[in-house]
């Protein structure tokens, strides 16, 4: 009778213990960050791997999302005779929500999974162990530069997503559907607030960057050193990151825009 309760309790305790492990791990990573000031080239390399190589998927997806958003919003707004505010609606949707969230989900799939697989494979092939035996701390040398690069890349990628998405909305709204170009830009300029909208979007993407990269590097470092273990860790990174982004998006949205 009590077995199901016991099993739920056991699973909950395991999750809490794992969260504790992840917290200890990230505290070690954060303590290693000052060292990177002296060896910033390690971060630059990872900024390329994590950030620059994610640009293609971000730009293409953002363009598609912006165009669809422009199209859908235009038909809805036209029913109310308000199609001139298309620029404002597209911009607010992207800057507040879609930019950070969709960029986060894409970032988790592209860069997060790659980080987990790379670190997990380094563990499985004893590269991390060999580093330890060469008196080099893998957390400082391998994990910390990747974590910092992920945290720095994510807000930039989200900003890029929002910007390209707006261009997509412009191409469809102004280029195809005949919305006035001046109204598109001026209403956007007048109604998108830097602090309330843009800055909050940046804060969101920064938080998502921390969460996704934390999950990715922890899962890689904690992966079972087998092919199956690395595969499962990579899958967990994508799934957990997606859930975390959506959950934190709700919390942050409630905190940031709840009073409006």
């Amino acid at each position: 009778m009590f077995e199901p309760i016991r099993l739920i309790g056991e699973a909950a305790l395991r999750k809490i213990a794992r969260l504790g492990q992840a917290s200890l791990f990230i505290s070690q990573v954060i303590a290693s960050l000052p060292m990177l000031l002296r060896r910033f080239s390690l971060v630059v390399t990872q900024l390329y791997e994590v950030g620059v190589l994610s640009i293609a998927i971000i730009v293409i997806s953002a363009l598609a999302v912006g165009m669809v958003l422009g199209l859908q919003m235009f038909y809805t707004l036209r029913d109310f005779g308000s199609e001139q505010i298309l620029g404002q609606v597209v911009a607010l949707s992207l800057v507040r929500e879609l930019g950070p969230v969709l960029a986060g989900l894409l970032f988790a799939g592209r860069a997060g999974s790659a980080l987990t697989a790379e670190i997990g494979l380094m563990k499985a092939t004893e590269q991390l162990s060999s580093m330890e035996m060469m008196a080099v701390d893998p957390i400082k040398r391998v994990v910390a530069p990747r974590f910092l690069a992920g945290v720095l890349s994510m807000p930039l990628l989200a900003a890029m997503f929002s910007s390209v998405g707006i261009i997509g909305g412009y191409l469809v709204g102004v280029g195809l559907l005949g919305v006035d170009s001046g109204a598109f830009w001026s209403l956007m300029q007048a109604n998108v607030d830097f602090y309330d909208d843009i800055l909050n979007g940046i804060i969101k993407s920064f938080v998502f960057g921390i969460i996704i990269t934390w999950i990715a590097v922890f899962e890689g470092y904690d992966a079972k050193p087998t092919a199956e273990g690395v595969s499962r860790a990579t899958m967990r990174t994508v799934v957990h990151s997606a859930f975390a982004v959506l959950a934190f998006d709700f919390i942050l949205t409630a905190l940031m825009f709840g009073g409006n």
Partner: protein, 268 residues
């Protein structure tokens, strides 16, 4: 006398679940000598090297390296101690994203402030010693198993360690590479004044170059001595191992219930 001993392992205890790796193991490694630790596969020889390197903590007992208790060292002290150790991994463990040159240069770049020119000279001299100077610009994926092992060897002794550990250095090598690695271990040990620990179950190669041999089974040292002493030993463990006999004190079969009852269990 004590300064002749670089490493002392006393009453070491360690288990992986129910599997006993060390059960009161005592080992002493003499400075400047080549000591081989032999034993059947799965007896925990690699784990023993990891305990010496501080990557695995023993459950009880002591490991004293140059007077320092390895299990009691803090993270930074352990990193310092490891600067004077080298470990050749069984799987070579080369960094797949770095070239052969950069793999060997890695520990030098991390721990020294040498100019690139000086670093290049040192790396090329290490690669020359293992016969792979010409492969400096290759990537690990382009190397054969034997070449990867030699690059890993060059990397392991890049910082001129005082204690060099080899994890199954002869496994999976063709006879020529095996001979090359055997000679290299002996040459490096003698010319650089290092102390070497070889973990192996390749009897012939290990006995050829070793000054002293420990044979371990079921977590204990079952025989020890110079290669000549062991050849003449009347220990049944030592003789089974040296003569490669399939059965003896070390059973060929993994512990299991009766064969017939296992076979007919499904019929009944």
């Amino acid at each position: 006398m004590s300064s002749d001993i670089i490493l002392t392992i006393k009453d070491l205890q360690f288990k992986y679940g129910e599997r006993v790796i060390a059960d009161g193991m005592d080992v002493q490694i003499q400075r400047g000598k080549i000591t081989t630790i032999m034993g059947p596969s799965g007896t925990g020889k690699t784990t023993l090297l990891r305990m010496i390197g501080g990557q695995v903590r023993p459950h009880a007992g002591s490991i004293s390296y140059e007077g320092k208790s390895i299990p009691d060292l803090g993270k930074n002290e352990l990193l310092q101690a490891r600067k004077s150790m080298g470990l050749l991994f069984q799987a070579s463990a080369l960094f797949t994203g770095l070239s052969v040159f950069d793999n060997v240069a890695f520990p030098l770049r991390e721990h020294t402030k040498l100019s690139e020119q000086m670093l290049s000279h040192l790396v090329l001299s290490k690669l020359e010693a293992v016969g792979l100077r010409g492969a400096a610009q290759l990537m690990p994926a382009e190397l054969s198993g034997g070449m990867a092992r030699r690059v890993a060897l060059a990397r392991a002794f890049a910082l001129d360690p005082r204690l060099m550990m080899y994890d199954e250095p002869f496994v999976g090598q063709d006879p020529i590479t095996m001979g090359v690695i055997t000679r290299l271990i002996k040459l490096l040990n003698d010319s650089l004044g290092m102390t070497s620990i070889i973990v192996s179950h390749d009897v012939h190669e290990a006995m050829t170059i070793s000054d002293y041999v420990y044979m371990i089974s079921e977590g204990k040292v079952i025989a020890s001595g110079t290669p000549d002493e062991l050849r003449e030993s009347d220990s049944p463990w030592a003789q089974q191992f040296l003569r490669a006999e399939p059965d003896g004190p070390v059973s060929f079969q993994y512990p299991a219930k009766d064969y017939q009852s296992d076979l007919f269990a499904s019929v009944e």
